[in-house]
Symmetry: C6
Subunit: 76 residues, 6 copies
């Protein structure tokens, strides 16, 4: 986990920012559960639960706030 995976919070477009948010959100989970097999099993578990999905999308929404602010909302 010492390899480089987050060189910058800056992206060219909002959509690339959203992709970075997905990466960030998955990393947060991976730090808590580093075992890939267990992680994959749980990912399919919460992806098939309505409550799990909504909770996952809350994390995404929080991280999207951060990345959007970092990029000055790509106001151009």
């Amino acid at each position: 986990m010492t390899q480089s995976w987050l060189p910058s919070l800056i992206t060219a477009t909002p959509q690339e920012g959203f992709d970075l948010v997905i990466t960030l959100s998955r990393r947060g989970v991976k730090y808590t559960q580093p075992d890939s097999d267990k992680l994959m099993a749980m990912r399919s578990a919460y992806a098939e639960s309505a409550d799990g999905l909504t909770a996952a999308s809350q994390v995404i929404a929080i991280n999207f706030q951060t990345i959007s602010a970092a990029n000055n909302y790509w106001r151009g």
Copy 2:
């Protein structure tokens, strides 16, 4: 999922901002569960659960913070 769906966070009015927030919120869910059939089944599940509805509206409220800040609150 590589097609363009988020060209900008800027909207003309608060209400268009709210519509963008709905799009954003659904995308977050779709990234976690890309299978459309499963997604539709769960969407109706949480839309008919009081807890699920409230959790979904938390995601909307967080995303509305982001889009409102991006647009300087449409202060005009």
Copy 3:
């Protein structure tokens, strides 16, 4: 849902801001569950559950952050 319901985030007083927050919070729920009858049934469900009430008031608190910032906290 294309009629105008959110012309501005600006209000004259904090209390009117709080009223707008209630509108916003209900709209978020309505976008997820557009069926008014189902919505009314669930609203009474979560209004009579301690957990549901607290979750609903989290949404209100998040939206009040947004509206307060939009109005520069009505610092006058």
Copy 4:
């Protein structure tokens, strides 16, 4: 509910700000469940549940962010 209860977000001290936060948090609940008797019954319910208490203190924490920002953190 049309009487005045939120004339300003500005307080003299952080502690008075915290008191205002409690008022705000209770109002959010009251808007969702206006019936005082039901409200009192539920308040004692969540005040005696560990999860309910923590959820209520999340609402307080979110509202404290708002009031602290409104007061420029009472930096003096």
Copy 5:
């Protein structure tokens, strides 16, 4: 509860800020459940539940945002 417990949000270091956050988080709970005996019983309850612990640390994280912003992140 009228004694002074929150004279300022400003602290000398990030770590003292974190200590203040713990105080703030406990106060939020105490306002909701003022009975010390019940409170102690519940505190041990959620401290021994994984979900309760995570929820409590969300409150801490939200309050740490507030105190960090109040102190301009101790940028020095």
Copy 6:
């Protein structure tokens, strides 16, 4: 718990910022449950529950907002 563990919120890179976030998030839990053995038992419990994992990653996302703002998003 009086030893120094949070000298600064400033880090050289986003990735080091993320590492600090993990430290912060674990400290929040540790303040609530100081007993290391109980903590380890619960950590493995929530690391193997989909809901627990998502809740833990919400705390991480909130703390990452704080650390990113502290570092001006490492805009360079």
